[in-house]
């Protein structure tokens, strides 16, 4: 069996510096999201739900919390005897140590891993996007087109197209041009950074790329353009659905708020496509008398006495009597003391908001990022 063996390589090394102090102590993929998850859970759960049984996770930047989160992969059912999940950090060999210098280089350095797993196809994923995708659809498209590489693309609003890597295609969806952040986009199909490669082809180009001293060893900037120049069969697969690259604090806040929208297409309640995450074994949350919770998500272990509106509460949060929380994202372990008011804020793990303290304002259109180091406004 096991025809069409796919191994996924999940790039989880990024620092995500535009997220500011949200990523002070953790890699971007480890940032909490959606009341319960960390960002990487989406890509990991997609892989698990797509039946991909081997996945390599390429880490580099402050991997400690990420490693704790992933553990042995049991949450995603990747704790297997054979195959399963493998964390792949940089390492040393006879010629000394090498850090990963780019996305392609990170995969290149782990050719040994790929050779041992011996897949037919390699799926490159990025650990910092919020979306649900059945990678089998991409694989089937890839097989149908007999492609060397297939790139998942998504329609973005025309006015935002110039912020993305745009993919220009012919009528058969074959890629004819890459247009990195074009001033005048010919197209509004943006690359999602999700690539399905035929392994032999990828292997060949990783080696070519590694030998090229001028390369930055990046898939988007170097490997894919080189493959295109060599006239390989490269196709764009049109993904329809919710997808968000939470690059800034504002887009992070917005993506969280999206979950409260009735028409949000990212249905986290779908039992056929669960988003898995590390479980903390907390009891159900308790809602006291005289409290109010509307249009909000609340996770386990919370103790709520105040008023919660239009907000996302992670686990283990205490909201005392008279406190009011509105349009905010509250990370695990936060305490909001009596009478405090929180508006349009992102409050990071274990911060305490003092009694009567006021954070943010309902109507100035700004987002307040509250960490142990203070408050940043965006």
């Amino acid at each position: 069996m096991n025809e069409n063996k796919v191994v996924a390589m999940l790039l989880a090394g990024g620092q995500g510096s535009r997220l500011k102090t949200l990523t002070k102590n953790i890699a971007k993929p480890a940032v909490p999201f959606g009341g319960k998850y960390r960002i990487i859970d989406f890509a990991l759960s997609n892989a698990a739900n797509s039946g991909i049984s081997d996945i390599g996770i390429l880490t580099q930047y402050k991997p400690y919390l990420l490693n704790t989160h992933i553990g042995i992969g049991s949450s995603w059912d990747y704790d297997r005897n054979t195959g399963g999940l493998r964390v792949l950090p940089p390492f040393t060999s006879e010629d000394g140590g090498r850090w990963y210098t780019g996305t392609a280089n990170a995969v290149y350095e782990n050719i040994d891993y790929l050779d041992e797993v011996d897949p037919d196809y390699v799926l490159i994923l990025s650990g910092d996007h919020i979306y649900k995708m059945d990678y089998n659809e991409l694989l089937n498209f890839h097989l149908e087109k007999k492609a060397d590489v297939s790139i998942a693309v998504i329609e973005v609003p025309w006015e935002e197209a110039s912020r993305f890597g745009i993919v220009n295609i012919d009528e058969d969806n074959r890629i004819v041009e890459f247009d990195e952040k074009p001033e005048v986009p010919k197209n509004n199909m943006a690359s999602m950074g999700i690539y399905m490669f035929t392994w032999g082809k990828l292997r060949e180009y990783l080696i070519l790329d590694a030998q090229d001293e001028r390369s930055k060893h990046d898939f988007g900037m170097n490997v894919l353009p080189r493959m295109l120049a060599d006239n390989n069969a490269m196709y764009a697969w049109n993904f329809k659905g919710y997808w968000k690259d939470v690059g800034t604090v504002r887009s992070y806040w917005e993506a969280n708020m999206d979950l409260l929208d009735d028409e949000n297409p990212l249905n986290i309640y779908d039992r056929n496509w669960r988003i898995f995450t590390r479980n903390r074994n907390l009891p159900p949350h308790y809602v006291a008398r005289e409290s109010l919770i509307i249009n909000s998500l609340v996770n386990e272990g919370c103790y709520i006495r105040g008023e919660i509106k239009n907000s996302i509460l992670f686990s283990d949060i205490t909201v005392e009597e008279g406190a009011k929380v509105n349009k905010s994202v509250i990370h695990p372990g936060v305490t909001i003391k009596a009478g405090a008011q929180v508006n349009n804020a992102v409050i990071t793990e274990r911060v305490v908001i003092g009694p009567g303290e006021k954070i943010g304002s309902e109507d100035d259109g700004k987002i307040y990022l509250v960490t142990e180091d203070g408050i940043m406004v965006e």
Binding site: I268, N281, P284, Y286, V298
Partner: protein, 375 residues
């Protein structure tokens, strides 16, 4: 605590007091507190006190037990050479009473001989008491007793604990005898059906009684020997629930709405582990109104909930009223339905506009998968 093996042994005598709730599950598998099963408390407490080997005599109807406990992974008991050992009942006609606890213990004699632990701790999973097992074990060891039994001093002026075991203790804390509490006195010592003893003594008593035929139940054999061994007692001072019928089951759930009880059971002295389900957070819609309730994950709430226990994945529609009720996993309350003093078993459904109500002494129970429609 690596010196002590945990033995969880089921008292079958209460099986028929739970009505349809226990048609397909043993009582220790009853759901409680929004996401747990009764037995989770006993297992988690053992694990949190460092007990590495736990033997469970499952009784019958074990498919739900096997599904829930499986290999013991939620408790990190899926170990290679220790962990969780499930012993389903074995029928061997050579025993006088094949399904008695003594016969079942005897059928696993080799298991006890092969484990390295020198002591056993036996517990009844229907009694919830977050005993500090480490401290009690230390007391047992230091006191030099052959057996230490755990009790709870109970002030019970309203006779809520009629027919439970009443332990008589002398001034030195030694066991005099165990009888039944008939409520003639306002206070009594409730024996919590937990005890420590040396493994060798445990096996010796089992062999003796199998050979002599004198006793069928282990407690019986113990009490017959109360003068031969040094049996002392250890007082547990925390919260106790003894789930022995629908009423006590119902009350034990509501006790968890009290902050002191939920702090003691859920947070102090270690987490309660259970099988996880990966439900997302609970969504409160615009019309939700929840008061004094315990709400598990994965619910979508649009109606009114008061003083209730809501398990994982429950849906409560607009204008629905849920009060003093227990809604088990994935049960559904449709728009405008009214549910008072009731228990909905797993995946039960109360349809639009239907209403059900029981009494606090005898809650109304809707069976697993059953549906209640408006007349």
């Amino acid at each position: 605590m690596e010196k002590c093996i945990g033995v969880i042994s089921v008292n079958n005598s209460v099986d028929n007091k739970f009505g349809s709730l226990c048609r397909h599950r043993p009582p220790y598998m009853l759901p409680i507190g929004g996401r747990y099963r009764l037995i989770d408390f006993a297992i988690s407490n053992l694990v949190n006190h460092g007990v590495r080997n736990i033997a469970i005599y499952t009784g019958d109807k074990i498919r739900s037990t096997m599904d829930h406990l499986g290999d013991g992974k939620p408790w990190d008991l899926n170990r290679r050479f220790s962990g969780l050992f499930l012993f389903p009942p074995v029928y061997d006609e050579r025993y006088k009473l094949p399904y008695s606890d003594i016969a079942q213990y005897h059928s696993t004699e080799i298991f006890f001989e092969q484990v390295k632990e020198k002591y056993v701790f036996i517990a009844n999973p229907l009694i919830i008491a977050k005993l500090n097992i480490s401290q009690a074990f230390k007391y047992f060891l230091e006191s030099g007793a052959d057996i230490t039994m755990v009790y709870n001093k109970r002030y019970d002026p309203f006779g809520e604990f009629i027919n439970v075991e009443n332990m008589h203790i002398d001034k030195e804390g030694r066991l005099i005898d165990i009888g039944m509490n008939l409520g003639t006195q306002k206070s009594f010592n409730h024996y919590l059906e937990m005890l420590f003893m040396k493994k060798d003594l445990f096996l010796e008593i089992i062999r003796e009684t199998i050979e002599s035929g004198e006793a069928h139940y282990f407690k019986e054999a113990l009490l017959a020997r109360k003068d031969r061994y040094k049996i002392n007692t250890y007082e547990f001072k925390g919260h106790v629930d003894y789930i022995r019928d629908i009423k006590t089951y119902y009350e034990a759930n509501f006790n968890l709405l009290k902050k002191d009880v939920s702090m003691e059971l859920f947070f102090e002295g270690g987490t309660i582990y259970t099988k996880t389900k990966d439900e997302p957070s609970t969504l409160y819609k615009e019309t939700a109104n929840v008061q004094n309730s315990l709400i598990a994950n994965g619910c979508v709430i649009e109606g009114n909930v008061d003083s209730s226990i809501i398990f994982r994945g429950v849906k409560i529609g607009k204008n629905a009223i849920v009060k003093n009720s227990i809604l088990m996993q994935k049960s559904v309350v449709e728009d405008g339905a009214i549910i008072v003093n009731s228990i909905l078993d797993k995946q039960a459904k109360v349809r639009k506009g239907a209403s059900i109500a029981g009494s606090p002494l005898m809650p109304y129970v809707v069976e697993k998968y059953a549906e209640v429609t408006k007349d």
